[in-house]
Symmetry: C2
Subunit: 169 residues, 2 copies
């Protein structure tokens, strides 16, 4: 899929077919995330691939906005590892770039995905940390829920000329 | 350009040809950023398109890591507008997703770009706010420097299997 087409046709997908995401696609998603830019190329991320249905059902109890996890075959928890930071404070931004790469890759691969926010909501960070036993120096940042799409939301153009300023605001 | 190819071949480009970026491509870059996902679809971003060479030269004084701005035809300052937030705290993550879309779009359009970090470095946020008169409720997040590439950094694969955990860490 063309890059600009992917950027403009990607939408959040919250309903999935009842079939697993093949392992080679899981690896493609993580590889796309890993190739995001990061401050000083610090690559401060860690990933927890969750395909255990019981764990995914628990996710929905931790984050009320993640009910789709109950019927999803896959979740990928993107975390920031503070022990990997060489440019302190940028892990939040770096991990978000990784998530966006993952979402675009999912769409290009014929999958559907939705970004469920974790950081900076403390109760979600704590809950997910306990659920999948994330170590202390690592912070749950975002949980991407993935599957083969059972819905096809129409592309949405969000460009707004009034948000663009020139040289001096 | 294919989406996965763009994700895997995009690199930071810090040297540019001495020619401007056409206005229609500037708009494509901003439109790509605007189509990023955001928490509750809040779209909390604002953009300052900077093509004034004097202002770009000043950028390099504010951010020691942005020396390439001195010889770049274009900078796009991505900002978070707190008055647009409906999901407080997520503007940092949302704006990062917008920046990543912009970087991938630039690469796909034959441009070269580099992400220069602003948030959370207070002196860079303050300096850029003063430089282009960003209003109080708006926070400078990232400055993307763009031009036609005068260097072609080789693709870099950053996938690391040891960063991937399964179900329980």
């Amino acid at each position: 899929m063309d890059t600009l087409e992917a950027i403009h046709s990607r939408r959040s997908v919250r309903r999935y077919e009842d079939r697993p995401v093949p392992e080679e696609l899981v690896q493609e998603l993580v590889a796309a995330a890993c190739n995001a830019p990061s401050a000083r190329n610090q690559q401060p991320w860690q990933f927890v691939v969750i395909d255990d249905r019981q764990i995914l059902a628990e996710v929905a109890k931790i984050n009320p906005n993640a009910q789709m996890a109950r019927r999803a075959p896959l979740g990928i928890l993107v975390c920031g590892d503070l022990s990997l930071e060489t440019s302190p404070g940028y892990w939040v931004v770096d991990c978000a770039a990784a998530v966006e790469n993952m979402l675009l890759a999912a769409h290009a691969l014929g999958l559907g995905a939705v970004w469920t926010g974790v950081y900076p909501r403390q109760e979600r960070m704590d809950g997910l940390r306990r659920l999948v036993r994330v170590p202390e120096n690592v912070i749950p940042h975002s949980l991407v829920i993935v599957g083969y799409p059972a819905e096809r939301p129409a592309p949405q153009s969000r460009y707004r000329a009034d948000r663009v300023h020139r040289n001096i605001w």
